[in-house]
C-alpha cells in the first residue's frame, strides 16, 4: 500500500519535520506549516524570498556550498544550519537536501538541543584548540572532530583513518603512540600522553591526548578521546623546566630550596631538589601547608608559626623565619627562610616567594665556636695564673677573671665592655718588655720572660710571662695569648737552694781551707824537725848539736800545739751536746784565768791588771768552756804584746741580762784587712820581725765558737802597732 497524495498531505502537515521545496538557487517555493516558526512573514511574502535570508550569517556559506554540491550524480546531501526566531531563540535544523527535477526537496529536523551542546563544544574547541575523536576497534573506524583537523592543519574533507592519524607523529615516537591505543584495548585502562606532532603544513606542535575505553561485555568496543594543542603550554613548561634546571644547578649542593607560597590556598611550591631532600612527593606541584609543617622540628614549630604570623602582619614586605627541617634521612637541619611578600589591595598577603637556606653548617660552626670559646674561658680561668688574649693591635680580646679584676681595680676599665689596649692597663715596669715580647710574638715566635712585680699588698711576686702567637687563616698571626704564671714559690725555693748551695760551697771551701791550713801548719814544723834530724846526723860539734836540738824541741812543741788545737776544734759538736751548765760568779772565773797567765805577763814585764765587777755577776754557763775561751784570748794578748799593758775587765754595766768582759793589750795589733779573719780557723796570727811566736789561728776561732755556744758574742777592735781589744758579752742565762 502506498500513501495517497492526500494522505501524504496530512502527514506533511502533521509532522514534526520541516518540509521545504526550493528552487535550485535556494528560493523558497513552498513549505509545510511546521516551517512557519522559521519565517516571520506571510506565506506569500516568504515564497518570494531566498532561504538564505532566514539563516544565520555564518551558515549562509554552508548552505550555498551544500546546494552547489548537489547534482544528478550526487542528489542527496545533509547539512545543518540555524534560524533565529523571535520566540525560541536560535533553532538549529538538520536538513536532507534532495535534488529532483531541478528542484530541491528539503526535509529538516529540529536539532536545537543537540546543536546547543555542539555549539558550545565548537566554541570551546576553537578557544582551547581541542578536538574530539573516537575509534572503533571492531571495524577500525576512526573519527576526528573538526578541532582535530584544525590542530593538524588538515582539510576536514580528508577522510581519517588510524594510519593517517598516526602519520602525524614523528617516526621515533610513532610506534610508542600506537602502542598506547593497543594497550588500552588490551588493558581496558584510560591513558593520556603529551607528544610532538608535525602538522600537514609541517609545523611542529605539542599535543595532549586523553583516551577512555567504552566497555561492552568486558571488551573495548569503542575508544573516546580528546586531543588538545598544548604547544604554548609546552613551550612555557619547557622554559620553566629550563629555569628550574638553572635553579637546580644553582641550588645543587647547597641544600637550599626555593619556595612559592600561595597563602590563600595554603599550598606551597618547592623546588624539586628541595622536595627530594625532604622526601616530599614529587608528583604534586604544590605541597599543602600542613604537610610542610610536619617537617619542622617539634621544638621549633610554635616559635616558627608565631614568627610566620608576625611576618604576615607587618607592613614591610620582607619575610624572615628560621627552623629545623626534617630530611629524608630523618636528621634535622637548620634553615633560614628569606622571602618577599605580595599583597592584595587590602594589604593581605597573597603570596610569598623566597629561599630556604640551609644554615646547618653555620649553626654547627657557631656552636663549635661558642663551645670552644667557653672551653677556652674555662681553661683560662682555672689553668694559668693570669691570661690575656690580644689581637694584633694589642687590644684585649679576652682575659681570665683574676686579670679582669686587677685591671678593673687598678685602672677602672672593663676590657670586656670597652676596647682597650693591654699596654694601657699594665704596671709601668711591664711596658718596655711587653712591647718587645709582643712584637716578637707577632713575628710568630713563642717568647718566655720572667718578670718581678710588687703586688698591691706589697709582696714581691715573680711571674713567668709566655707570649704564644695564634695563627688564623693563611697562617698569619691573628692574636697573641699572654699567660702569666706565678712562679714566686718556685723562685723562692730556687733562691733558697742557691743560698744553701753557696753555704755548702762556703762550707766545702772552709773545709778544704781548714785541711790546707792544717797541712801547712804541720808541714812547717815538720820541715824543721826533718831537716834538723838530717843535720844532727852529720854534726859532731857539741855546741852546734845543742843548738840543733833546741830547734828540734821548738818545732816539736809547735807541731804538738797545732795537733791539740785541731782535736779541740773537731770536738765542737760533741761539746755542744754535753754542756755542763752551772750558775757561777763570773768575777771568780775570769780571775782564775787571769792568775793562770800572770807568770807569762810578768816574765815580759807587762802591766797585767784585772778589774772586777762590783756585783759578783752570776751567770749560767759551762765554766770549763768559758775558761778555755777566755784563756785563749788572754794567752794571745800576752803573746803579741812585748811592752805596755794587758787590762782585763769584768763589768755588768747595770744590765740585768748580760755581763761584759774585755781584754785590752798594747800589742802589735792587726791591720784592718785581717781583723775579720782572725776568728777563721788556722788564720795565723803570729807576725813580725822577731818570729818568736807562732801558732795556729785556731785558738781565737775556738774562743769565738765557745762563746757562741754559750749564746755570747765576741768582737775585736785593733789598730796596728797600737794594740787590740776583745769584748765579750755573756748572757746571764742561756
Amino acid at each position: 500500500m502506498s500513501f495517497t497524495l492526500e494522505q501524504f498531505g496530512i502527514l506533511s502537515e502533521k509532522t514534526l519535520l520541516f518540509l521545504l521545496l526550493l528552487k535550485k538557487d535556494g528560493k523558497i517555493i513552498t513549505f509545510n506549516n511546521r516551517c512557519k516558526i522559521l519565517f516571520p512573514y506571510d506565506k506569500n511574502e516568504v515564497t518570494r524570498k531566498h532561504i538564505t535570508d532566514f539563516i544565520i550569517d555564518e551558515d549562509v556559506a554552508v548552505f550555498k556550498d551544500a546546494i552547489n554540491s548537489l547534482s544528478d550524480e550526487n542528489p542527496i546531501v545533509d547539512v545543518s544550519f540555524s534560524f533565529p526566531t523571535k520566540k525560541n531563540g536560535l533553532l538549529a535544523l538538520k536538513f536532507d537536501l534532495t535534488l529532483h527535477n531541478g528542484l530541491i526537496y528539503a526535509v529538516g529536523i529540529d536539532t536545537t538541543e543537540e546543536y546547543k551542546e555542539h555549539r558550545a563544544l565548537m566554541t570551546i574547541s576553537k578557544l582551547t584548540k581541542t578536538g574530539a575523536w573516537y575509534f572503533a576497534p571492531k571495524n577500525n573506524e576512526m573519527y576526528w572532530s573538526k578541532g582535530c583537523y584544525l590542530i593538524k592543519d588538515l582539510d576536514p574533507k580528508v577522510p581519517i583513518t588510524r594510519e593517517k592519524g598516526a602519520s602525524f607523529y614523528p617516526e621515533e615516537s610513532r610506534n610508542r603512540v600506537e602502542s598506547y591505543l593497543d594497550n588500552l584495548i588490551k588493558n581496558k585502562k584510560p591513558y593520556e600522553y603529551t607528544e610532538k606532532i608535525i602538522t600537514e603544513k609541517g609545523n611542529e606542535k605539542w599535543i595532549k591526548v586523553v583516551a577512555h575505553p567504552v566497555i561492552y561485555k568486558n571488551e573495548v568496543v569503542y575508544v573516546n578521546g580528546t586531543i588538545a594543542d598544548v604547544t604554548d603550554r609546552h613551550i612555557y613548561i619547557e622554559k620553566l623546566k629550563h629555569n628550574e634546571e638553572t635553579k637546580h644547578l644553582a641550588l645543587k649542593g647547597i641544600r637550599s630550596g626555593l619556595f612559592d607560597h600561595l597563602v590563600e590556598k595554603n599550598v606551597v611550591f618547592y623546588s624539586v631538589d628541595f622536595k627530594k631532600m625532604l622526601g616530599l612527593p614529587l608528583d604534586q606541584d604544590f605541597v599543602p601547608e600542613e604537610e610542610f609543617r610536619k617537617m619542622i622540628h617539634p621544638d621549633d614549630v610554635d616559635e616558627a608559626l608565631k614568627r610566620h604570623l608576625t611576618n604576615l602582619k607587618k607592613d614591610e614586605n620582607h619575610y624572615y623565619n628560621h627552623y629545623r627541617l626534617k630530611h629524608l634521612n630523618g636528621a634535622y637541619r637548620h634553615y633560614e627562610v628569606h622571602g618577599f611578600r605580595r599583597k592584595d589591595q587590602d594589604g593581605n598577603t597573597t603570596r610569598m616567594v623566597g629561599n630556604l637556606i640551609d644554615v646547618q653548617q653555620r649553626k654547627l660552626n657557631e656552636r663549635t665556636i661558642a663551645e670552644s670559646k667557653n672551653r677556652l674561658q674555662a681553661m683560662v680561668n682555672n689553668g694559668f695564673a693570669y691570661t690575656v688574649l690580644l689581637n694584633t693591635q694589642g687590644e684585649i680580646l679576652m682575659t681570665d677573671e683574676k686579670s679582669l679584676k686587677i685591671i678593673k681595680r687598678d685602672f677602672g676599665v672593663d676590657p670586656t665592655k670597652v676596647t682597650c689596649r693591654f699596654i694601657d692597663v699594665m704596671p709601668l715596669n711591664f711596658k718596655n718588655t711587653f712591647a718587645h715580647e709582643f712584637n716578637e710574638a707577632l713575628k710568630g715566635n713563642i717568647v718566655k720572660k720572667e718578670i718581678e712585680r710588687i703586688t698591691h699588698k706589697g709582696n714581691l711576686q715573680w711571674l713567668e710571662s709566655k707570649y704564644t702567637p695564634i695563627y688564623g687563616q693563611e697562617q698569619k698571626v691573628n692574636s697573641v695569648l699572654i699567660s702569666f704564671h706565678d712562679i714566686t714559690e718556685q723562685k723562692l725555693a730556687e733562691i733558697a737552694i742557691k743560698e744553701s748551695h753557696i753555704k755548702e760551697q762556703e762550707l766545702n771551701s772552709l773545709k778544704s781551707n781548714i785541711l790546707s791550713n792544717f797541712s801547712h801548719e804541720i808541714r812547717t814544723p815538720l820541715n824543721g824537725i826533718m831537716t834538723v834530724s838530717k843535720l844532727l846526723l852529720g854534726e859532731k860539734d857539741p855546741e852546734e848539736r845543742k843548738k840543733l836540738l833546741d830547734y828540734l824541741e821548738e818545732s816539736k812543741d809547735r807541731l804538738l800545739e797545732t795537733i791539740n788545737n785541731l782535736s779541740n776544734f773537731s770536738e765542737i759538736e760533741a761539746i755542744k751536746n754535753n754542756l755542763n751548765l752551772k750558775e757561777v760568779d763570773l768575777n771568780y772565773t775570769v780571775e782564775t784565768s787571769f792568775r793562770e797567765y800572770k807568770h807569762m805577763a810578768d816574765a815580759k814585764n807587762l802591766l797585767y791588771r784585772l778589774e772586777l765587777d762590783q756585783t759578783c755577776p752570776q751567770v749560767c754557763i759551762d765554766e770549763d768552756l768559758f775558761r778555755a775561751a777566755i784563756n785563749n784570748i788572754v794567752h794571745n794578748a800576752i803573746k803579741y804584746t812585748n811592752k805596755g799593758s794587758i787590762i782585763i775587765k769584768v763589768h755588768s754595766k747595770s744590765s740585768k741580762n748580760n755581763v761584759y768582759i774585755s781584754v785590752a793589750d798594747t800589742g802589735i795589733g792587726i791591720d784592718k784587712r785581717n781583723v775579720k779573719k782572725i776568728f777563721d780557723p788556722f788564720m795565723q796570727e803570729s807576725i813580725g820581725i822577731s818570729r818568736k811566736y807562732e801558732g795556729t789561728g785556731i785558738g781565737l776561732s775556738l774562743s769565738k765558737r765557745y762563746i757562741e755556744i754559750l749564746d755570747g758574742k765576741i768582737k775585736v777592735e785593733s789598730k796596728i802597732g797600737m794594740g787590740t781589744e776583745f769584748n765579750i758579752i755573756i748572757p746571764r742565762s742561756l
Binding site: 797541712s519 801547712h520 812547717t524 820541715n527 831537716t531 830547734y551 795565723q684 807576725i687 807562732e694 796596728i720
Partner: protein, 129 residues
C-alpha cells in the same frame, strides 16, 4: 853561688842556711818581702827561694814574686817557691803565677841541691862565655 831565702820561720831559715852552705852556696835570709826587695838590689844573686806564707799583715810570697819580676836586674834569676802549702793543685798554682820551680816542705834537699847545682853549672858556663 848566692842564694836569697825569704822565710819568716826562724828555724826553717836557719836549717836551709846550714844545708845549702854544705853545697858551697852562700845563703842570705830575708824575714819578709820588704827585706827581700832591699837585698836583691844590694847583692848579686843566682837564685831566690821564697816561702809563701810570710805572716799576718805581711806581703806573701806571691806578691813578692810579682814585685821581683818587675825588676830588670832579676830578669834571668830563677825564683823558686819553697812552701808548706802542699795540697793537690798548689804546685800548679804557684808555677802558673810565675815561679820557676816549686818545693814543698818538708823540703827534699837531695832534689833541691841537685837543681841548684845545675843552675850553678849553667851560670859558670855563662861566665865562661
Amino acid at each position: 853561688m848566692n842564694v836569697l831565702y825569704v822565710e819568716d820561720n826562724r828555724i826553717n831559715a836557719m836549717v836551709m842556711d846550714k844545708m845549702l852552705s854544705k853545697n858551697d852556696s852562700k845563703v842570705i835570709i830575708a824575714e819578709n818581702g820588704s827585706q827581700a826587695l832591699k837585698v836583691v838590689k844590694e847583692k848579686n844573686l843566682d837564685l831566690i827561694l821564697v816561702d809563701i806564707n810570710l805572716g799576718l799583715n805581711q806581703m806573701d810570697g806571691c806578691e813578692l814574686l810579682k814585685r821581683l819580676r818587675k825588676l830588670d836586674i832579676l830578669k834571668n834569676i830563677p825564683v823558686f817557691a819553697v812552701t808548706a802549702y802542699a795540697m793537690p793543685g798548689d804546685k800548679q798554682r804557684f808555677i802558673s803565677i810565675g815561679f820557676d820551680n816549686y818545693f814543698s816542705k818538708p823540703v827534699d834537699f837531695d832534689q833541691l841541691l841537685s837543681v841548684i847545682s845545675k843552675i850553678g853549672a849553667g851560670s859558670d858556663k855563662k861566665q865562661m862565655i
